[in-house]
């Protein structure tokens, strides 16, 4: 019962904050968007906890709400975005965007309503660090190592791209 209430609370907060990221009626400032994105990530971590994915909830807060959003805020700070606040959204863009996204959302929900999701079994899975770690270092060892190479490539790419003279 409490879990159900918490689900509705977290889901509502996630969606409201997500809406405020993209279309805050009070300010179009990217800093406000970034702050609401942090809130969205944190509430998503709450949903992960409700799904018993404890390790992923911690990673979500550490990596997304922590590292990625600090990176975003650093870049916003480096760029001078004063002029951006005066820009307004165009009516044509809003209508076409709303129609397109509404159509896609309709397709999603329609598919979900018709999908045979099966009888809900009682889930007993626990996404603890130990269970995930065991999988990561046995069956998914090769993808794990490949991802480390990917992170190295991303690091070299970021350093190269932010050099003063881009040749």
């Amino acid at each position: 019962m409490t879990a159900d209430l918490l689900f509705y609370l977290f889901a509502a907060c996630t969606l409201v904050c997500g809406f405020l990221v993209i279309a805050n009626p009070f300010s179009l400032n990217p800093v406000t968007s970034a702050m609401f994105l942090v809130l969205t990530m944190v509430f998503l971590a709450g949903l992960f906890v409700l799904l018993h994915a404890f390790f992923l909830a911690a990673i979500q807060v550490l990596v997304y709400a922590g590292a990625v959003m600090v990176l975003f805020l650093f870049v916003i700070m480096l760029l001078d975005l004063k002029a951006e606040e005066r820009r307004r959204l165009k009516v044509f863009g809003i209508t076409t965007g709303l129609i397109a996204v509404g159509a896609i959302l309709f397709i999603f929900l329609n598919t979900l309503a018709q999908a045979p999701l099966g009888a809900s079994t009682t889930p007993e899975l626990e996404g603890t660090t130990m269970a995930l770690g065991k999988l990561l270092f046995t069956r998914y060892l090769l993808p794990f190592e490949v991802v480390s190479v990917l992170l190295l490539v991303a690091m070299i790419g970021a350093i190269f791209l932010s050099k003063k003279e881009l040749k």
Binding site: D4, V75, E84, G127, L136
Partner: protein, 101 residues
């Protein structure tokens, strides 16, 4: 009615649509990037929900990899935006018209 897989999938679908709406509506490259992150997060939520309700941990490992790749993507993408700003003094998608005929 207790909360099941369907509920989580609806939240995921709506969050994905919100992210897509952000990508389409906003013209600021940074906010477009935030919309992309929201779409990735919506996919993650769907994966974790499926993993939980089918008693299969593989979905959560996949989410782990998605988070790692997203972190790499953000690092490179933001470096690109900074490099772009240094050249053109703008991060506004409507000002980038080099490819217009």
């Amino acid at each position: 009615m207790s909360v099941g897989l369907q509920h989580y999938l609806v939240v995921s679908a709506v969050l994905f649509s919100l992210g897509l709406l952000g990508v389409i509506l906003r013209r600021n490259l940074l906010v477009i990037y935030m919309g992309l992150e929201m779409m990735l997060n919506a996919a993650n939520l769907a994966l974790v929900a499926f993993s939980r309700f089918t008693n299969n941990l593989d979905g959560q490992v996949f989410v782990f990899f998605v988070i790692t790749v997203a972190a790499a993507e953000v690092a490179v993408g933001l470096a690109l935006i900074v490099a772009l700003y240094r050249r053109r003094q703008t991060v506004h998608a409507e000002d980038l018209t080099c490819m217009k005929l």
